[in-house]
């Protein structure tokens, strides 16, 4: 539509703007959670994440230090208490202040509150105050002050620190390594089986080949829900039970149809000359496969590996049926997060951080290997 857009610049602008809008809309949910994962529990509970980038007005109550201990008597019989509301630590700049809860922003910094009969209080922008009056007035408890200050936006890594390194039930490190333990064998093993089968289906002639391919296409869409009980029964009866071996085998079985289908389509498209020349030169089928077909099929192998990795990493159902037992020792991240959703439903700092720890690896894989992912999708779908 180049030339049309060129003829109508207004349309080009509209297209650009609407794409910006759509991209923003699509990113918005993820950014919300990401921002929340860098805020403290108090911040999350007290304001929406979209306000996190703007300074907030916060009113707090302070008292001057105990007059009976810190007051100083001047020569004129006036008593004075001096100090800072922030102590030595310092704090945000005071924007307004007051001495009554009904009028918290009565004064500007540097102004003086007259509390009658000569008693007065002065508060500076940096939080230092001077409280003066006679002996009776400057006694008892410290004088109350209501100080409004602008808190600059603040982000913290504490959530990640406590989720990854902290103790307690929320810690996600164990689940992270369990997920990794599930994922790696479940990605590598099916590739080998599938590659040999795909080669046979693509380049060997034998009766029943077309039927087998149809069988695999059919298995592509069989819902894995059907496999849960029969396979769990099988695993229990042959002694695998619930555990890593079971989940690896299950993922291998469920991943095979797509693996064979993708690899066969790709291998069938390899140039016939190369393979026939090799056959003429006396190479065995095994040599042809390992020396020629496998290296040439690298893009398809990579595509499937990414699919299978993302799928096994993000999977919940297979893991909770075949792996996670009541001890919780073998919990995976998706399961861990679902549990947190139940027990820590309102603790968004925990949930957001856990979710992002679990997303970090797949997102990295996604952005680094997107080329192969797209290629695999196209090979599997465009007909």
């Amino acid at each position: 539509m180049d030339n049309i857009a060129g003829r109508k610049p207004a349309l080009g602008w509209a297209v650009n703007l609407s794409v910006v809008f759509i991209v923003a809309l699509w990113l918005f949910p993820t950014i919300g959670l990401l921002v929340s994962s860098f805020r403290t529990a108090d911040q999350i509970a007290s304001s929406g994440w979209w306000k996190a980038f703007f300074p907030t007005q916060q009113t707090e109550q302070f008292r001057t230090s105990d007059p009976d201990e810190t007051r100083i008597e001047t020569e004129t019989g006036v008593f004075v208490v001096e100090g800072s509301i922030y102590g030595d630590a310092g704090g945000p700049e005071v924007s307004t202040w007051g001495v009554s809860s009904r009028d918290v922003d009565a004064f500007v910094p540097g102004g003086t509150a007259d509390m009658g009969d000569g008693e007065s209080l002065t508060l500076m922008a940096d939080g230092s105050y001077t409280w003066t009056g006679d002996e009776d007035q400057i006694s008892g408890r410290g004088q109350r002050m209501f100080v409004t200050a602008e808190i600059p936006p603040e982000f913290t890594l504490r959530n990640y620190d406590s989720m990854i390194f902290g103790g307690g039930n929320d810690n996600i490190s164990k689940a992270f390594f369990n997920t990794l333990t599930v994922t790696i064998p479940a990605t590598i093993i099916p590739i080998l089986f599938a590659a040999f089968a795909a080669y046979a289906l693509a380049w060997m002639d034998f009766p029943g080949r077309a039927l087998l391919i149809a069988f695999i296409v059919a298995l592509l869409v069989v819902p894995l829900q059907l496999a849960l009980i029969p396979l769990l029964k099988l695993h229990l009866s042959i002694g695998i039970g619930k555990g890593y071996l079971g989940v690896w085998l299950a993922h291998t079985g469920f991943g095979l149809p797509l693996a064979i289908y993708l690899l066969r389509n790709y291998m069938a498209g390899l140039p016939r000359d190369i393979i026939e020349n090799a056959r003429v030169d006396g190479a065995t089928e095994f040599q042809i496969f390992t020396r020629i077909i496998l290296p040439l099929s690298f893009p398809a192998l990579a595509s499937f590996a990414i699919f299978q990795f993302l799928w096994t990493w993000n999977d919940l159902l297979v893991a909770i049926v075949f792996l996670v037992d009541s001890t919780g020792e073998t919990t995976v991240m998706t399961r861990h997060i679902v549990e947190l959703l139940g027990t820590r439903g309102g603790n968004w700092e925990v949930l957001a951080t856990a979710a992002f720890v679990s997303m970090a690896v797949p997102l990295a894989v996604f952005f680094l290997m997107q080329r192969y992912l797209v290629r695999g999708l196209l090979a599997g779908s465009v007909k």
Binding site: N3, V23, V221, L226, W348, L377, L378, S381
Partner: protein, 334 residues
């Protein structure tokens, strides 16, 4: 043994035994059973080549049959039996009849039906629109990559993301869910607990899947749009078609087969949808779907008969797509 070590070991054993199997099986075939020498050299080579495909196929076929084909048969069997102490008892159609009498099942079926109507249609439509808009854009690839990103996020992660959007706090408290904040800002009287509102909550759950699947639809449709022959579009421009006519009357009809593929692929995802409902509402407040219903029956009420019957209902719904896919594949191979 530490699981990580076990994993490394499994990869090692798995990979080396697979290689050993293929290598040794080939050697046995070529050197021992049918050696390519002596009087019958020619015949032996032919015989070895007839058996070899099955050697290559055997491990994969075995796994496929055990992990996908056998469970289908076994599920059929379980769905017509009842588990009794010590074994199984023929139950005929009882489990299926029990399903039809469970209002939760009808709710799940009805919801799955709505999911089927809404999610594939909207995901495909959004995907198509975005593919078209980004087609000739300079930064189109970056835009597409960002919209495609949710594809890498797990359903559970996406559920957490959207739960924050739908978050509800009682009236008077600061709303931290943007939906409620926006609702109040636009003049809504009271903050709403969105996920508990029957009808609407289903749609809110569907949004999560649409958000994920649109990127998939976009990537595939965008490739299909690129594949349209330039001449057809140029001819339409010469004939004075406006951009909308070109899109709807020239481009869309040409990529219709791809649109169908995207549609059916998302349909299959929708039929099996489980994680989102499990994580966000667990089927409460009228949001039950078939896969979660089945999970409930299998693992919470431990009723294998009804659970398997529910699984068969999912299989039945997938079946037309299965047949269509197989026919497409066979057509292609000819």
């Amino acid at each position: 043994m530490h699981p990580a070590l076990q994993a490394v070991l499994t990869v090692g054993i798995g990979v080396s035994s697979a290689i050993a199997y293929f290598y040794l099986a080939n050697m046995v075939l070529d050197k021992v059973l049918f050696p390519a020498r002596g009087v019958h050299a020619g015949r032996n080579i032919n015989r070895a080549n007839m058996i070899r495909p099955w050697v290559f196929l055997f491990p994969a076929l075995f796994a496929l049959c055990l992990y996908l084909a056998y469970p289908v048969v076994e599920t059929i069997r379980l769905s017509v039996t009842d588990r009794v102490p010590g074994g199984y008892e023929w139950a005929g159609a009882n489990n299926y009849l029990a399903l039809t009498q469970d209002p939760k099942f009808w709710e799940a079926l009805r919801n799955n039906f709505f999911w089927l109507l809404v999610v594939p249609a909207l995901s495909t439509a959004f995907g198509l629109i975005i593919a078209q808009l980004t087609d000739r854009l300079k930064w189109g690839n970056i835009a597409k990559s960002l919209i495609f990103m949710p594809m890498a996020i797990s359903f559970v992660g996406a559920s957490v993301i959207f739960k924050l959007i739908y978050d509800y706090r009682p009236a008077g408290e600061e709303q931290i869910g943007i939906l409620n904040a926006a609702y109040l800002a636009l003049g809504g009287a009271e903050p709403q607990a969105w996920l508990t509102i029957p009808g609407l909550n289903n749609f809110l759950l569907m949004l999560v899947l649409i958000w994920i699947q649109t990127g998939f639809a976009m990537v595939i449709l965008s490739a299909a749009l690129r594949g349209i022959p330039e001449e057809t579009i140029e001819a339409a421009i010469v004939d004075g078609a406006n951009p909308f006519q070109i899109f709807f009357k020239i481009k869309v009809p040409q990529i219709m087969p791809t649109i169908m593929v995207v549609w059916t692929t998302i349909t299959i995802v929708v039929l099996k949808i489980f994680d989102i409902v499990f994580a966000m509402t667990n089927g409460q407040w009228g949001t039950q779907v078939l896969a979660n219903y089945m999970y409930d029956k299998l693992f919470r009420s431990n009723d294998w008969g009804m659970g398997s019957a529910a699984a068969m209902v999912i299989m039945l719904l997938v079946f037309p797509i299965l047949v269509w896919n197989v026919r497409q594949a066979r057509k292609e191979m000819r």
